[in-house]
């Protein structure tokens, strides 16, 4: 008789749970030194349920299959000069922002999950976090590979890592992940595993990647969806960790709620970049930021919070602000970049007449009233040879590091200014939630590396803007400024045979 085939549950038990051992001669507390210092109480790790029950063996098998499919498409894309088939070369600027702003976050997530995959005391959680750590490494690698083809033909890709550490707007994603990685293991899991992966990454990957497909970019949609196939597993880990912590001990509830309030806001602010990519940077649009927010946050997130109510978890009280901001966010963000594009590693432009009509249709209550007149004026000035730039440096929010440009929802023409005094010093914030995040942990956020402060202190090349641009490794007139008149635009016209 041949041996009986194990079913999924037994296989998972033997090949995952059984990898753990008892600590007979070493102190368990010393092996997991971070497990208690956040105040989280775990009574029984055996209660951890991994719903996917993926063993290492199947993990490697399916991951290898995904990679083979992915790289076959990269080859085809390169062999067929896929870069010439995108709808419009302006589109490629969204990829530059992706590679400089998002991909290094994959690497940060890789490091963060390696940490929790070592530090959590339960084997089930540890194995899941280790798999995720390997996934995240795969994500940054496949993204670099996909972009390396674009790098042969477009400016702004080559120094992505150098730029990630220095550029003013890239400090937003960089500080977000550093904030999470300098927290304890459970806060990291709630920050990245739950808040970011479960609640927010769909907004980054799903509509945007669908948009890449719509804009003729086969390489990006493929790495995006290939990464996203791991994401379904990451989301499940995020949901599992929050349920587990809440079920383990009632004292965990206030701690978890506080982390949620903090990280959903931090993540939401980070997605400002995505809002702008969707509404302004995709020449062929799939859905508006507002529609994506409604589908993936309000609808899917709403169902999730209804489920978490049983544990006493509440939707953060700033949700109403977010609801109002969805009609303003992308317009305010693109305006920031339009003003400061001389110090950015991608190109900007004013939306065309058709694009503005699309924006009016998607944002009937706000676009014509607040934003269309501004873009029309900018285009008019451009036509007269008086392209508008802001030459001063903006004030940054101490928490999210985004320039202070978001407005009061009660009066969308008024910029929000909030402040706190800590140790006789005054700190500035873009919003009430950013202020309360600071007020909860001022000793952490006073250490923020704020690009504008650093420039003014002479730590970014010293001297004027020309020195700062050099420090960024930006060559003036190449990767920065408007798309119109850029070397990218000239090459594109050449390929397409337009004069």
């Amino acid at each position: 008789m041949s041996p009986k085939k194990l079913n999924l549950k037994d296989k998972y038990k033997l090949l995952t749970r059984d990898l753990d051992w008892e600590f007979s001669y070493e102190d368990r507390k010393e092996a997991f030194p971070y497990e208690e210092f956040e105040g989280i109480k775990i009574t029984d790790w055996d209660k951890w349920e991994d719903p996917f029950r993926l063993t290492m063996e199947s993990y490697w098998k399916y991951q290898a299959e995904k990679e083979k499919k992915l790289y076959a498409i990269y080859d085809a894309f390169a062999q067929n000069n896929g870069q010439t088939n995108v709808t419009d070369a302006r589109y490629v600027n969204a990829l530059k922002l992706f590679l400089t702003g998002v991909s290094p976050g994959e690497h940060a997530a890789h490091l963060g999950f390696a940490f929790t995959g070592r530090q959590m005391g339960g084997i089930g959680a540890r194995v899941a976090a280790q798999m995720q750590s390997i996934d995240e490494l795969r994500h940054i690698q496949t993204q670099i590979h996909a972009m390396s083809h674009y790098n042969k033909f477009f400016d702004g890709f080559d120094e992505f890592n150098h730029m990630h550490d220095r550029l003013w707007y890239l400090s937003v994603p960089k500080s977000f992940f550093e904030d999470a990685r300098t927290a304890g293991p459970f806060e990291f899991m709630i920050a990245i595993g739950f808040s970011f992966e479960y609640v927010l990454t769909n907004l980054l990957f799903v509509p945007f990647m669908s948009g890449a497909a719509y804009n003729g970019d086969m390489a990006t949609v493929t790495f995006g969806f290939s990464a996203q196939s791991d994401e379904a597993r990451h989301m499940t880990l995020g949901l599992e960790i929050i349920k587990f912590l809440l079920e383990q001990h009632e004292d965990n509830l206030p701690i978890v709620q506080k982390w949620l309030d903090k990280w959903l806001w931090r993540g939401y602010r980070l997605l400002t970049l995505v809002a702008m990519m969707m509404d302004y940077m995709l020449p062929q649009k799939v859905m508006s930021w507002q529609e994506a927010w409604e589908l993936y946050f309000e609808d899917a997130g709403g169902a999730l919070f209804k489920d978490l109510e049983r544990y006493g978890i509440k939707m953060p009280d700033y949700t109403d602000t977010i609801k109002q901001e969805k009609e303003h966010l992308s317009h305010q963000a693109w305006w920031i970049f339009y003003q400061y594009t001389h110090a950015a590693a991608f190109h900007t432009w004013t939306p065309s007449a058709e694009e503005m009509d699309w924006l009016s249709e998607k944002y009937p209550d706000t676009f014509d009233k607040y934003y269309r007149p501004r873009w029309e004026l900018a285009a008019e000035m451009e036509a007269k040879g008086e392209r508008f730039y802001t030459t001063g440096l903006p004030q940054l929010c101490q928490t999210c590091q985004i320039p202070m440009a978001f407005t009061e929802m009660s009066d969308p023409t008024q910029v929000v200014y909030r402040e706190s005094i800590y140790n006789d010093e005054r700190f500035h914030f873009c919003s009430d939630p950013c202020k309360s995040i600071f007020d909860n942990e001022p000793e952490k956020y006073v250490n923020a590396w704020l690009p504008v402060h650093q420039i003014l202190q002479g730590n970014c090349g010293g001297g004027g803007l020309d020195k700062v641009i050099e420090y960024y490794h930006l060559e003036d007139g190449v990767a920065n400024l408007d798309f119109e008149g850029s070397p990218d635009a000239e090459r594109w016209k050449d390929w397409k045979g337009v004069a």
Partner: protein, 89 residues
């Protein structure tokens, strides 16, 4: 009841998975979006190994779902012969 959703890359394997979903979930709504297929259903949604195997014309392993999966919502219940997502509200 809240809606659950699941999305797949639009390709030749997913097509049969989606056909199986439609067969086993009478109220499921299928949306074809650029490069992806998104399926929604009230409360829960089940994918059965046998139905997919029948549709695809060969033995299909539930865990092969990972290859073309893009995203999902809800809690998961997975076993050898089915994969289910649901909300408890």
């Amino acid at each position: 009841m809240s809606r659950v959703q699941i999305a797949f890359q639009d390709n030749d394997e997913s097509r049969y998975i989606v056909a199986a979903i439609e067969q086993d979930n009478a109220t499921a709504v299928v949306h074809y979006e650029p490069a992806m297929i998104r399926v929604e259903n009230e409360g829960s949604l089940i994918i059965k190994r046998d139905t997919v195997s029948e549709q695809i014309g060969m033995e299909w392993d539930v865990q092969a779902l990972h290859i073309n999966l893009i995203t999902l919502t809800g809690h998961i219940d997975e076993d050898d012969d089915y994969f289910k997502i649901m909300w408890n509200n």
